[in-house]
Symmetry: C2
Subunit: 119 residues, 2 copies
Amino acid sequence: MATHRLRFTADFLDPRAAATAASHLVDGPTATHLARTFAALADPTRLRLVSALSHVELCVGDLATLLGLTQSAVSHQLRLMRSLRLVKSRRAGRVVYYALDDDHIHDLFHRGLEHLQHQ
Amino acid sequence: MATHRLRFTADFLDPRAAATAASHLVDGPTATHLARTFAALADPTRLRLVSALSHVELCVGDLATLLGLTQSAVSHQLRLMRSLRLVKSRRAGRVVYYALDDDHIHDLFHRGLEHLQHQ
DNA sequence: CTAAAATATGATTAGTTGCTCATGTATTCA
DNA sequence: TGAATACATGAGCAACTAATCATATTTTAG
């Protein structure tokens, strides 16, 4: 949580508040990493894929039919989601089944939904 | 959570799995709305602003100094964050103080951090 | 009233993104 | 082996985004 030490010689209007803020400020690399995690959930298609896969695994074609998208669009998104460890794949013959890789993702997704309903 | 009724005459490879997925699939508008929430946290600068404001309010200039950004860049982000109800502002003379508008946002932010550390 | 300080905002731009289209790869079946 | 099925992928494009630069607005001090 704490960042590198700061010189408060810079003229802050409120040095005390700035010091408090600084002690909680996340550093750049951490912020970038965390931003990538949220960015993974910052797209309607990916959110719908997460919700579809939240209780059952599905193959690419069925996901495409379900969401009303082309197979290509879904496959591109799944590749991205796999690189981000959101989903994992399992091959069965010529069919590839996708499932959530991690409960945490579904948890974040659910927290987000709760946040929506609570306002 | 449940979406509109689906015709399963479409040839799903696995109709049972598809029906299960459909019952959990979020609809388009909800997904779009939720995506906007996550998108608000999908930027390193906004995440750092949230962390800075997590325990204290700060004025625009001090936020800019703290993050090492221009006043303009910070002001633009704060305007966006205000429109998304992430932060609220309070004017005191010619200084405008910003604070988190909602505990839920800090909660989501924290959940995300936990997710990072847990892998 | 005027200058200065603090913040807000419009225009522009480089970078990113999500989809489509065409094509490539892998696997099964006749 | 060859056709068909399921999925993956590269190129290209339109839409979006976050920063910069210049300028406008608001408020205080003199």
